[in-house]
């Protein structure tokens, strides 16, 4: 049998497992820097954070659902719809192919809120289908994913736009929710990074300090026990899917602003990226487990891979293979935390 030395080795091992994903992030950054030291710069950090901000908001939305033991496949298509919706109402007057030719300049917040609201609405519908009609989340959101793509394509194909990419977005829009930043030079922070951090903070509070949050973990942890405890499971699920939808809506708006345009194919497969970031960040697909810092680290890992590997010239095909491996390896390690074998 094992001696006390072995116990100490176990402790070190279990410490490693506990923080495995943080190590992965550090190793990635160090590895890439070793190959090309110029990667280690404020510029890289800026770019990674910029790209990761929308992803983080989508992943946080996905985390809401995953923690209750569900899954939300509609995320990516919601992002696309919200991007098209907001962009269609925020073009400059001089643009030749306006989506709404006669539309006066709306206050910025109106289209933004409309897009978020539509996200919330679709989320609510998901929630109703899951909670009232007991359709498994995978199926319910698969359905809404397909339907939302249809809706978005219809909208995008309306006259006079007829599926032209939406461009010519107003500078106040692309700056406030896209490329703008406060401060200058090294000491600048992009607005969308601030937005992502605020959202993360809010979500952290919801997960940890509210009845809704605790109920979510309970439902994911043991739904029967949650029902017996008198938790209003249906209502909680409704809120959860709605909150997720609203976050996808916000992310879609930011995606349009960041890239300065939108098409109906925006957001394709983002739901899988979001789920991958969540599981790499330690969210259990079985429900009941997951933290906001974990999700953020998961998103950052993919941000570093996307940006860093391109930076050192790894081909996109290899990048996909590496991403796939990271998902599997990270989760395989993370799972060890929960195995009963001690």
């Amino acid at each position: 049998m094992k001696t006390n030395n072995a116990t100490n080795a176990n402790r070190v091992g279990s410490f490693f497992f506990q923080y495995a994903i943080y190590f992965v992030l550090v190793f990635l950054v160090l590895g890439i820097t070793a190959i090309d030291p110029s990667f280690w710069s404020i510029n890289s950090l800026h770019d990674i954070l910029l790209q990761s901000s929308t992803r983080a908001i989508i992943a946080l939305g996905a985390a809401f659902v995953l923690i209750t033991g569900g899954v939300d496949l509609s995320a990516g298509r919601m992002v696309g719809f919200a991007a098209v919706l907001s962009a269609s109402m925020l073009q400059i007057q001089e643009y030749s192919h306006r989506f709404y030719p006669g539309l006066p300049d709306l206050p910025l917040w109106v289209p933004v809120l409309i897009a978020i609201f539509v996200g919330l609405l679709v989320g609510l519908i998901n929630g109703v289908i899951v909670s009232r009609f007991s359709v498994p989340p995978f199926i319910a959101t698969l359905g809404s994913m397909v339907a939302v793509l249809g809706l978005n394509s219809l909208y995008f194909d309306m006259k006079p736009n007829q599926s032209q990419p939406i461009g010519g977005l107003r500078p106040d829009f692309t700056s406030t929710l896209g490329s703008g930043y406060i401060g200058s030079g090294v000491y600048s922070i992009p607005y969308i990074v601030i937005i992502a951090l605020l959202v993360a903070g809010l979500v952290w509070v919801i997960f940890n300090k509210t009845i809704l949050g605790k109920s979510m973990y309970a439902i994911g942890g043991n739904i029967q026990a949650a029902i017996v405890s008198g938790i209003n499971v249906k209502r909680v699920l409704l809120y959860v899917y709605a909150a997720a939808g609203a976050l996808y809506g916000l992310a879609g708006v930011m995606e349009a602003a960041r890239t300065g345009g939108a098409t109906s194919s925006y957001g394709n497969m983002y739901e899988l990226d979001a789920i991958a970031a969540c599981v790499v960040g330690g969210v259990s697909t079985a429900g009941g487990i997951g933290t906001v810092p974990g999700v953020l680290v998961g998103v950052l890992i993919f941000g570093v891979i996307n940006y860093g590997l391109t930076y050192i010239g790894v081909s996109p095909y290899w990048q996909l293979i590496i991403k796939g491996l990271i998902i599997i390896v990270a989760v395989a390690f993370d799972i060890r935390k929960y195995l009963t074998k001690k």
Binding site: A218, A225, G230
Partner: protein, 505 residues
């Protein structure tokens, strides 16, 4: 080869978990062909010791000898190969498969058809029948396991152990969900195992059982071995004092309940399902403990789950303080200040991966709600700490995941959860299942206290002494119907049994 005095020896085994020394230099020596019982309070380390034996945990120190030979056990597979089997505290059958597939899972007999290997159903059936006959078990290999009672599923597990040529079979609280006759059945099987030279390590909190079945008893406390004795040298009182470390003069606290007016009135409650409860009417008075007795299958659980809004009823009325109410969900029940501690701790009680704090406050978060939706953390933590202290819940901290607590301590957390809701009517379904004698007394005291404060209790129990010792009135059910209500002090187990079988043919 010379016969060894001991078939199994676990010498100086230690095991640490973060914050707990679960086993501290424990030694257990089992003679061949005997029943060796393991006793101790909740969290004493009994299950942990057995999990070390069965390769689920690896001990930090110590050695295991089988037949005098030192052996390494790194997985359950190893243990099975060495002839050590375990019937777990919680059984995990594959419900959608039949008896024989569960029995031979992982080692199906095969026949070759040319180059292809197919499962040999016929041989599997015959082997199963032979095994069951040999052990005197009455089981049909073709029946779906999901439709069987706990006791039958346990029989399958025991048959499985025997088919592995087990020399040592560990049974962790095997009788906690069995009825009296089923326990007798189990004891017969144990006798026949003994006569084949198989040794049993038997864990239970039921002292009467231990004294009836064991040859030797090892008692543990706080992860340490207190000692081992021949069962014939022990008495109920001596076991209790060794386990608890002090004398426990009474099994039940003194209580003089003065029931007041009727708080709950049930009239003709009937389930839409023909096999469930029918036409049940009764009253519950303020400051009263109403026991519900009956055999497993008497629909007692179904009845109180219906009162809690977990099951539908087709007809009947419920009145609370004289006003008719509709209870369609646990949320409604909570509004009427009703609480229910369910029977199945794992399935409907605990949130395994959540900390104790969450597990304790989950039914009552509204109490800690502040404006702006935020939960008040401090009062929450304080209340939980206070419950941990009051119920003597053994845990390293209130942030420990509940799945890491011993079975009995999990039960106490669930009791704490419902106490926090400050119910007027507390319904308890087998409240002391898997709970040690000391803790039982604590739970009885808590119940007695609540009743003193004018709360009302409904308590389902399959333990006759508990029903008789605690209840003001005992309502007995048989096959979904009320077969009688026993009042007064001179109730006997025979009275209850008589009513519990009243409608049986």
């Amino acid at each position: 080869m010379p016969e060894n005095k001991f078939i199994l020896e676990m010498n100086n085994v230690s095991k640490d978990f973060p914050g707990v020394k679960a086993l501290d230099d424990v030694t257990l020596q089992v003679r061949p062909g005997t029943v060796h019982s393991l006793m101790g309070e909740n969290g004493a380390g009994k299950s942990t010791l057995m999990k070390c034996l069965f390769g689920i945990y690896s001990p930090d120190a110590g050695e295991i000898l089988l037949n005098g030979q030192k052996i390494e056990i790194n997985s359950s597979r190893d243990a099975l190969d060495q002839g050590i089997s375990m019937i777990h505290q919680e059984l995990h059958p594959v419900p959608r498969r039949n008896v024989m597939e569960n029995l031979w899972l992982g080692r199906f007999p095969v026949k070759s058809v040319g180059p292809i290997k197919l499962i040999d159903d016929k041989r599997m059936y015959q082997d199963s029948i032979a095994l069951f006959e040999d052990l005197g078990m009455d089981l049909d290999p073709h029946v779906l396991v999901g439709s069987l009672s706990v006791s039958k599923i346990q029989s399958i597990e025991i048959a499985k152990a025997v088919s592995y040529q087990a020399k040592v079979i560990v049974m962790d609280e095997p009788t906690s969900s069995l009825t009296g006759t089923e326990v007798d059945q189990l004891f017969k099987i144990i006798q026949s195992l003994k006569s084949r030279g198989v040794s049993i390590i038997y864990i239970s909190h039921k002292i009467e059982e231990i004294l009836a079945i064991s040859d030797e008893v090892t008692i543990m406390r706080d992860g340490k071995r207190i000692g081992s004795w021949l069962a014939s040298e022990l008495t109920t009182d001596s076991i209790i004092s060794k386990m608890v470390g002090r004398d426990l003069t009474q099994r039940f606290p003194e209580h003089h309940n003065i029931p007041g007016e009727t708080v709950l009135r049930v009239e003709g409650l009937t389930s839409p399902f023909s096999k469930a409860f029918k036409d049940v009417s009764f009253d519950l008075r303020q400051g009263e403990i109403l026991g519900i007795g009956g055999l497993v299958g008497a629909q007692r659980t179904e009845l109180i789950e219906a009162l809690f809004g977990l099951r539908t009823v087709s007809s009947g009325k419920i009145f609370i303080k004289g006003k008719q109410v509709k209870i369609k969900s646990p949320m409604d029940a909570k509004k009427h200040k009703i609480a229910l501690l369910t029977e199945e701790r794992r399935a409907t009680g605990i949130f395994p991966v959540l900390p104790i704090v969450e597990n304790t406050v989950m039914a009552n978060m509204i109490r800690y709600a502040s404006p702006y939706f935020l939960l008040k953390q401090l009062p929450m933590k304080q209340d939980v700490q206070q419950k941990i202290a009051r119920l003597h819940i053994k845990t390293p901290s209130s942030e420990t995941q509940i799945k890491n607590l011993s079975g009995g301590n999990q039960q106490k957390v669930l009791i704490a959860r419902w106490l926090l809701t400050e119910p007027e009517i507390l319904m308890l379904d087998e409240p002391t299942r898997g709970i040690d004698v000391g803790a039982k007394f604590e739970i009885y005291s808590i119940i007695a206290d609540l009743v003193q404060q004018g709360k009302s209790i409904i308590m389902i129990s399959s333990e006759m002494p508990e029903l008789i010792g605690m209840s003001d009135r005992i309502m007995v059910m048989c096959e979904g119907r009320l077969s009688g209500i026993l009042e007064g002090k001179n109730r006997t187990e025979e009275d209850i049994m008589h009513l519990a079988t009243k409608f049986m043919v």
